[in-house]
Amino acid sequence: MNTIRMLLVLMAVSGLFAFSPPDHRAEGYSIGDIAADFSLKNVNGDMISLSDFGNAKGFLVIFTCNSCPYANAYEQRIIDLDRKYKSSGVPVIAINPNNPKFRPEDSFENMQRRAQEKSYTFPYLMDQKQEVFPLYGAKRTPHCFLLEKTNSGNIVRYIGAIDDNYQDAGEVEVNYVEDAIEAMLEGRKIEIEITKAIGCSIK
């Protein structure tokens, strides 16, 4: 009888663990989650929040930086995405998540220089306290989060890479981000919601 009681207690305890909610802070956002707004410093000195963009239909939040070769390989494509979709209401919001202590190339001054040299048409923000990228669950640069603005908040619609060929924009077969934005704007189902890619770990 005692063993049965023990077993029951064990089952109850293990049940507790099995049903405890997943730790979202550690994992970051999943598709369908409401993304938090932030207030981060732009290269021009302004503080920027998503709520500043009254007419936006959504946001393409990209964690990127100066120092990563993958971020460099995608830089022009990020500029092109902003050109293409800002007018449709989906601007690019670039955020540098790296600590310049470990990556001097990603200092605020170097961000300013890069944004000017390459004529960035979008905000390039510094995650100074390194609080935003873990909240989103960004693991590497570049790492994209497409958000749709709704009455209940900014809903995460796509997480992952820009497209399926970092080496050559001309050889791309699937434009993950473009396809997701087009579908989102037309109210269609996004076919590919999550993709993986090699990138530089965030430091």
């Binding site: 990556r103 693991k139 399926d164 060929n165 993986k196 890619a197 430091k203």
Partner: protein, 182 residues
């Protein structure tokens, strides 16, 4: 029934007898997986693989324990831990352990970055260039939870397979390896 058991033990013993393995037990096997290019340093070859070919090498094909590290010369934490992996190869190489350094360098940086790096460190571990841009297709095949950030390491043998999305020191690497050798 019992005799079959004995027979199996006998066969296993024979096939494990050291010095009698006619099949190559190094990770890279050109017959099993064909590289689409072969790069050379002054002392070694670096095969270039697409993922489909590379994947064939991840199937268990010997008694060894393989420590497969994903890295690139542009990745600072990766470069920092390469000597730790090299030390593991030098320390455990004679105990059926093989370290494989899978470079994810950009193909157009091979001449200027990868080859000089390997040459300068005089790496004894096997180096491979994995050249397959469709990463979303192959990253989950290495591990379903891998975000794609490097460094990352896969350790496997006939009994176990573990994936680590993190940096290692020699000590932490050795501690993980012990679990595979015991």
């Amino acid at each position: 029934m019992r005799s079959i058991g004995f027979l199996m033990v006998f066969v296993t013993m024979v096939s494990c007898k050291p010095g009698e393995q006619s099949i190559s037990n190094s990770f890279v096997d050109y017959e099993m997986a064909k590289p689409h290019q072969l790069l050379s340093t002054s002392y070694s070859d670096i095969p270039v693989y697409s993922f489909d070919e590379f994947e064939k090498l991840l199937k268990v094909h010997s008694q060894k324990t393989y420590v497969v590290n994903f890295w690139a010369t542009w990745c600072k934490p990766c470069v920092k831990e390469i000597p730790e992996f090299e030390k593991l190869q030098n320390t455990y190489g004679d105990q059926q352990v093989e370290v494989v350094l899978v470079s994810l360098d950009f193909p157009n940086k091979v001449e200027s970055q990868l080859l000089p790096f390997v040459e300068n460190l005089n790496l004894k571990s096997q180096v491979i260039l994995l050249d397959d841009p469709n990463q979303n297709r192959w990253i989950p095949k290495i591990d379903k939870d891998w975000s794609g950030a490097i460094p990352a390491t896969l350790i496997f043998n006939a009994d176990r397979r573990e994936f680590y999305e993190k940096s290692f020191t020699f000590m932490s690497l050795e501690a993980e390896l012990q679990d595979f050798l015991n």
